[in-house]
């Protein structure tokens, strides 16, 4: 008796007698029934998933289970301790996460509520200019205006004879009031969330020199904060007048 190509079901031959045709059809029907039943049992039912984002993962050879969807911003991560060998988790260490973008306006800007979940903070100021010309823009750790908690050093190898004698450190020197001469700057506060060490930051800035607009300028100031407190906020303010433009971005770095 001939058989089908894929599943080998037995079918009547073209020359079989009518009296044997019914038997052949019954045999074929039984074979089809068995195959379909077995295939259905091996299929993965869609009812295994219960919510948007659920995925199907193996727990062993020929065995699957539902892995419920993770929370926002989690990534799928291998973990041999779980049933599926997978889990949803926060991204692994490394890289920068943008925590905030704040437009600079008014006579001072305070950014607070900084997450303590990272290792370093990286701040970027872009497109900065002020209402008054040839202005300095200053930085306060933790928006802390108490006297004698800030110290600033203007060069890589200088020392400051009046240690913590300031209420802020200078970040930008000679900011213009002309929107054509905007400045940008970056600073990194390393290990900002620890509560045992002083805090250091290196303040870099560059742009057109407001004192001589034919020149570009780059400045570097090292700032030190005498408190061991974790850094959860900071303040930026020009010496006089207001911010006319710019943004400050805060990145958490792991």
């Amino acid at each position: 008796m001939p058989t089908t190509t894929n599943y080998g079901w037995t079918t009547p031959a073209d020359t079989d007698l009518v009296k044997d045709g019914a038997s052949a059809i019954r045999t074929l029907g039984t074979a089809i029934d068995t195959t379909v039943f077995n295939n259905a049992g091996a299929a993965i039912a869609k009812t295994i998933v219960d919510a948007k984002g659920d995925i199907i993962a193996a727990t062993a050879a020929d065995t699957v289970a539902r892995l419920a969807v993770g929370t926002n911003d989690q990534v799928l991560t291998a973990d041999s301790s779980t049933a599926t060998g997978l889990k949803w988790a926060a991204p692994a260490a490394g890289g920068m996460t943008l925590l905030s973008t704040t437009s600079l306006t008014g006579s001072s800007v305070t950014v607070s509520g900084i997450s303590q979940s990272y290792i370093d903070l990286y701040l970027v100021v872009e497109d900065l200019y002020t209402s008054n010309d040839q202005e300095d823009v200053n930085f306060r750790f933790n928006a802390d205006s108490n006297a004698n908690r800030h110290a600033a050093i203007a060069t890589m190898s200088a020392s400051n004879s009046t240690a913590f004698a300031a209420t802020s450190v200078r970040w930008f020197y000679g900011v213009s009031n002309n929107s054509s001469y905007k400045k940008m700057g970056i600073t990194t506060i390393q290990n900002y969330a620890n509560t045992t060490n002083l805090k250091f930051a290196m303040f870099h800035s560059s742009g057109i020199n407001a004192y001589n607009t034919a020149n570009t300028t780059a400045n570097f100031f090292q700032g030190v904060y005498s408190q061991a407190s974790a850094i959860s906020s900071f303040e930026l303010f020009p010496n006089t007048g207001n911010f006319s433009g710019g943004t400050v971005k805060v990145y958490g770095v792991k």
Partner: protein, 72 residues
């Protein structure tokens, strides 16, 4: 609406994403005035040093750029 008489400050709590723009309160304004005096004093000191520096350059007959070139 009363006209603003004190400088405006912006406070951005990035945990709640709340942004508050308001006039300085009494403590902030006191600190602001103290800062103005301190920064003005520092600026005056820096300007005095610049004048002294220029006087020295004039005495030795060099410009600042020429001195930088010599010092490498």
């Amino acid at each position: 609406m009363a006209k603003s008489t004190r400088p405006m400050v912006r406070i951005h709590n990035i945990e709640t994403n709340e942004i508050i723009d308001r006039e300085m309160n009494d403590d902030e304004f006191s600190q602001y005035e103290a800062d103005q005096l301190s920064l003005a004093a520092k600026k005056a000191e820096a300007e005095a040093k610049a004048v002294e520096k220029q006087a020295i350059l004039d005495r030795i007959g060099l410009t600042a750029d020429e001195l930088k070139m010599i010092l490498g």
